[in-house]
């Protein structure tokens, strides 16, 4: 599945994504530190970096996904890379990048957790929540990883909709993305999801069932993207 060419694509795209994420994390960390040191609102504990960054990280990857069809695919085909190698390369880069986006907040959060014990922060930080949830840090990491990847593929789905079918059909892909987000919320946000007519809350039932549901959804997105990019005409 991964040829030398798709590995070339993966390394180039991954580097590009890391470069963009350095800006993103720098800004996010600056905002977080301002909140911790100056805008902490008194004595109530505030969330650690992992919880603080989760939502923004997902939105960041959604934006990266949206940029993908326009930024990467045309560039790859012009450089003599096939759509297949471009697709697998981008997917591989996105998976590696989702891992990076999971590990970095987790590492910063862990650092905060250690520093909090030394009482260097003016306010209590709820850094332990990540490590003490149902299945601990691993569960939090798996959850963020799958969410980030889902947001990336959904962004890519929206952009390929516009790229391939123009703007009216593009709206249809936005509607499709709302269904994906609804299902994602249903899986990962117990009691806070949009599809409240569904019979039960998987996250409450079993963490691994949620993971399975999330992976299945990612597989469907992955296959849909492969079909949509397989023979796509390149814009000039």
């Amino acid at each position: 599945m991964t040829s030398i060419r798709s590995m070339k694509v993966a390394t180039a795209v991954f580097k590009e994504m890391i470069r963009w994420s350095l800006w993103f994390f720098s800004i996010l960390l600056a905002i977080h530190l301002i909140r911790v040191f100056w805008l902490n609102g008194g004595t109530a504990p505030i969330e650690g970096f992992f919880t603080f960054s989760q939502y923004s990280t997902s939105i960041f990857t959604l934006v990266l996904g949206i940029m993908t069809a326009y930024t990467f695919m045309g560039r790859h085909i012009q450089q003599g890379v096939s759509r297949r190698d471009s697709f697998f390369g981008i997917s591989l880069a996105a998976t590696g990048f989702a891992l990076f986006l999971t590990v970095v907040p987790l590492a910063i959060n862990g650092l905060q957790h250690l520093l909090a014990k030394a009482s260097i922060f003016p306010v209590a930080l709820d850094t332990a929540v990540v490590f003490e949830s149902t299945a601990g840090a691993a569960a939090a990491a798996i959850g963020l990883f799958l969410n980030v990847l889902t947001y990336f593929f959904t962004g890519w789905l929206i952009s390929i909709g516009y790229y391939r079918f123009r703007w009216i059909a593009g709206f249809g892909f936005i509607a499709l993305s709302f269904i994906v987000f609804g299902l994602n919320d249903y899986l990962w946000k117990p009691g806070n999801y949009t599809l409240d007519w569904l019979p039960y809350e998987p996250f409450e039932m079993d963490f691994w069932l949620t993971v399975l549901g999330s992976v299945a959804m990612l597989l469907v997105l992955f296959l849909a993207m492969r079909l949509l990019t397989k023979r796509v005409p390149i814009k000039m």
Binding site: S3, R5, A12, M236
Partner: protein
């Protein structure tokens, strides 16, 4: 490195509009092909099919006998350089060159640096801040230094001034000597570039009008120069493409082969017979098709 391109009954439709209709031709390996056509003739559509940017509606495009669309080995051998819109490209020029070297197996960075100097390309500037001519120079640097076995330049000179275009043409000829490949040069500037071509393809309204080696074009017409009255009399029954007069001397381009008898008759009249210009031939053939 010698790669041939074949198009077999290729048609391309955009809804009801036929951009290309039943085109069959072979682009021979190691030659410089001039692709000529008026605006909207279908030149870019044709080239985008060779570069696998899209699929033909009917027919086949192949490189050395293998279909090119989604064929990684064949796609890698084709570099398609066109007038790209760089309005949103905030990367520096050197980053785009580095990207090309990352993907292109035959990319020659030393040659790219030589070309950068030749064109005086400011590689540390964001591409969207470069002038149109410099953006074209960047495209040319990437296209030439990629050393792809099939290199396509679709009006790559747009915005370049005359000296920069001259550098471009010279570099094509020099590099073709040392690293022969199959070039396709699509152009409007026929009279400026015709000396580069080994083979000429003219398309009009999506149809193939001419597909000939450059040297055989001479047989398609001639220029007749001499005393105005003699030239007029000699060419009276011929298809005239163009005429120019300076004082009593007139030069007329005619379409159609001049036989040996006609040539001797011209000689007897003191008329000079020369080759027909590609520009005149192009204008005539595309007007006739319309």
């Amino acid at each position: 490195m010698m790669t041939a391109v074949q198009l077999n009954h290729v048609t391309l439709k955009f809804k009801k509009f036929k951009a290309l209709e039943d085109i069959s031709l072979t682009l021979e390996a190691g030659k410089i092909h001039g692709l000529i056509g008026r605006n909207g003739a279908g030149k870019t559509s044709l080239l985008s099919l060779i570069a696998a940017f899209r699929e033909p509606t009917a027919g086949e495009v192949s490189v050395d006998g293998a279909f090119v669309f989604e064929n990684p080995e064949k796609m890698e051998q084709i570099a398609f350089i066109y007038d790209k819109d760089y309005k949103e490209e905030t990367e520096k020029a050197k980053k785009l060159i580095a990207l090309a070297s990352h993907y292109r197996p035959h990319f020659d960075m030393g040659y790219a640096e030589h070309l950068i100097k030749r064109f005086k390309l400011p590689v540390d500037k964001p591409v969207n801040k470069l002038s149109k001519g410099m953006q074209s120079a960047l495209n040319v640097v990437i296209g030439l230094a990629s050393r792809a076995p099939v290199t396509i330049f679709d009006e790559a000179y747009l915005g370049m001034d005359a000296p920069a275009r001259e550098i471009f043409y010279k570099e094509i000829l020099i590099d073709q000597e040392e690293h022969p490949r199959t070039f396709i040069l699509s152009t409007h500037l026929v009279s400026e570039m015709d000396y580069l071509f080994d083979h000429v393809i003219i398309i009009d309204q999506g149809r193939l009008v001419l597909n000939e080696p450059y040297e055989t074009l001479e047989a398609l017409g001639a220029s007749v120069t001499g005393a105005a009255a003699d030239v007029d009399a000699f060419t009276a029954t011929m298809q005239r493409l163009n005429e120019q007069q300076l004082g009593g001397t007139k030069s007329v381009m005619v379409y159609g082969e001049l036989g040996e008898t006609k040539r001797q008759e011209a000689h007897a009249l003191g008329l000079e017979i020369g080759p027909v210009s590609l520009q005149d031939l192009f204008i005539y053939l595309t007007e006739e098709a319309n």
